[in-house]
């Protein structure tokens, strides 16, 4: 008996703060944001990594186990996780994180989405009816989501509301300064034409004032065909496009194909926290802006 007590006592320092919120994040960017806003008050699990396509994931037992014990689920929403989250929610069967519960947080509900289709026509490709879900690539959206998420943390864990408020204020201040810094250094990118692999970047492009002249996929989710590629190539040469963007988790071959036949540089961007070795949200945007500026030269 004594030995068991001793063993348990030795285990204690390894555990997070007693009563910490258990957070299940669908994507690494939201896990990173929770770490900023809650620190050691939350124990965070990220369902996907920067090397994975968040549209689809392989089912692992830990996904069900983690969601089952979660107090809060933080996802992008806007149908990004439509391919797996409904099945996972059903299998986890945890009332705290079901749609409509306080423990179910969707970032897309707190920002204005781009590319909302005027008509939801299947003929236009793999279009999300709610709008483009890759909203985290505009840092001003991160600030908006942070505000709502911090309020949600305070609601779920009222005893620590003051801590969340203080961490949030501190984060917002550092984030504002960082945005000013990035915007100043990215000024030369304004008006630069770019080609994208998949339409993952509208928020980043709008923030920095880059212009998307073409996508290598003729419609989202449809592989390129020869006629479309010839058009993109002609356009890239005519507009003297300097770069083609693709995410760390995407196939680099279409962008490289274009780079071999024109002046275009294929640029791999981290896309989310963990991509390109970025450790947090600050490094994610730092690295993104740096890579874009390098390719501009």
């Amino acid at each position: 008996m004594k030995r068991i007590v001793l063993a348990l006592a030795l285990l204690l320092p390894a555990l997070p703060v007693h009563g910490a919120l258990r957070v299940f994040a669908c994507e690494p960017e939201w896990a990173a944001l929770i770490r900023e806003l809650a620190g050691d008050r939350a124990e965070v699990f990220s369902a996907t990594t920067a090397q994975q396509d968040p549209h689809r994931i392989e089912a692992r037992p830990s996904l069900i186990a983690q969601l089952r014990r979660a107090d809060l689920l933080v996802c992008t929403g806007a149908e990004l996780e439509a391919g797996w989250l409904p099945m996972l929610l059903r299998r986890a069967n945890n009332a705290k994180v079901q749609i409509g519960a306080a423990g179910h947080f969707e970032a897309a509900a707190h920002v204005e989405l781009l590319e909302k289709p005027a008509r939801a026509d299947r003929a236009d490709g793999d279009v999300h009816a709610a709008g483009n879900p890759h909203l985290h690539l505009d840092p001003r959206n991160i600030a908006r989501v942070a505000r709502a998420l911090s309020a949600r943390l305070a609601e779920l864990d009222a005893a620590n509301a003051a801590t969340y408020q203080a961490r949030h204020d501190d984060f917002q201040q550092r984030w504002r300064q960082a945005i000013e810094r990035w915007e100043a250094s990215a000024a030369p990118l304004r008006g630069v034409p770019v080609v994208v692999a998949h339409r993952s970047w509208p928020y980043l492009l709008r923030w920095l004032g880059l212009e998307e002249v073409a996508a290598l996929e003729p419609k989202p989710g449809v592989p390129p065909n020869s006629g479309h590629l010839a058009e993109v190539l002609a356009l890239a040469q005519a507009r003297r496009v300097p770069m083609a963007l693709y995410a760390a988790y995407q196939d680099p071959r279409p962008a490289r194909w274009l780079a071999e036949r024109s002046e275009v540089t294929a640029v791999e961007l981290p896309f989310t926290v963990g991509g390109g070795g970025s450790a947090d949200l600050f490094e994610l945007f730092e690295l993104t802006v740096t890579r874009l500026l390098e390719a501009r030269r």
Partner: protein, 267 residues
């Protein structure tokens, strides 16, 4: 990490595996005897083609219409294969392979016009065993029981069309439950390990081997937190290999001295 090691998490997946094995162990023996190993890939792909066509016709809102399209296409494919086996028996394997690539690339051509079918196509071919609920296992178990009854009835008549039709429905149902890799492994691997035995011994042994493979695979997947489907494929193969080798070394008794695979129902 062993956070996933709970019956409520891996239990439905294990039962799904047993249901799939119930039809696939006997069917796999027959597939091996006929030398048409890739037929399940072809049938699954043809079922997917039917689903894409249903999307093209605007039927995507009715799950029953999608299931009917998948089963209908698979049954048409099965009838076609029954006919080709009668017409060109030596070419059957090559024709099945060709049917597979035609169905797969035909699907891509149709998708160029209606890409939203692509999502469902991937769901159909890449069923994920961990997402399975008890209700889904129950539904497929019912279908499997009906198929086994039909097979027992048809066995007395050595019906070629019966085999292909039962096979088409079994594969279409199980592929949505566990995905195409596990369907292939459940069909071929236990049959391969027990190919030297007569049916009365091969079926129970194949089923036990399969059940052990699924159970061990799910445990390893929970223990190492790896995707369950691919792990089960590997544990099935890892168990089948020594089993198959041990059975081969045993001298054939007169009862088993017949050419392999020739059953009461042989072609």
């Amino acid at each position: 990490m062993s956070a996933g090691l709970e019956w409520s998490i891996i239990g439905p997946a294990f039962l799904a595996g047993l249901v799939v094995l119930a039809t696939h162990v006997p069917l796999g023996r027959e597939v091996l005897a006929r030398g048409i190993v890739f037929i399940d890939l072809a049938i699954a792909q043809i079922a997917a083609l039917g689903v894409i066509a249903a999307y093209g016709l605007g039927l995507e809102d009715s799950p029953w219409a999608i299931q009917a399209a998948a089963a209908g296409a698979a049954l048409l494919g099965a009838l076609l294969m029954t006919w080709t086996e009668r017409r060109w028996p030596q070419l059957q394997e090559a024709l099945i392979g060709t049917a597979f690539v035609l169905a797969a690339s035909g699907g891509l051509l149709l998708l160029a016009g209606s890409p939203h079918g692509g999502e469902h196509l991937k769901d159909l071919l890449a069923g994920q065993i961990l997402w399975v609920s008890y209700a889904e296992v129950g539904a497929v178990a019912l279908v499997s029981a009906l198929l086994l009854a039909a097979r027992a009835y048809l066995a007395r008549r050595a019906s070629r069309a019966g085999f292909y039709l039962i096979f088409a429905v079994a594969v279409t149902a199980s592929v949505q439950l566990v995905g195409v890799y596990l369907v292939f492994a459940s069909l071929i691997v236990p049959a391969l390990a027990c190919r030297g035995l007569d049916t009365a011994r091969a079926l129970p042994l194949g089923f036990a081997l399969g059940a052990l493979g699924y159970g061990l695979g799910l445990l390893v997947s929970a223990w190492r937190d790896l995707p369950s489907g691919p792990v089960i494929v590997w544990t099935l193969a890892a168990l089948a290999l020594p089993c198959g080798l041990a059975l081969r070394r045993r001298p054939l008794s007169p009862r088993r001295a017949r050419p392999q695979g020739v059953d009461a129902r042989g072609p």
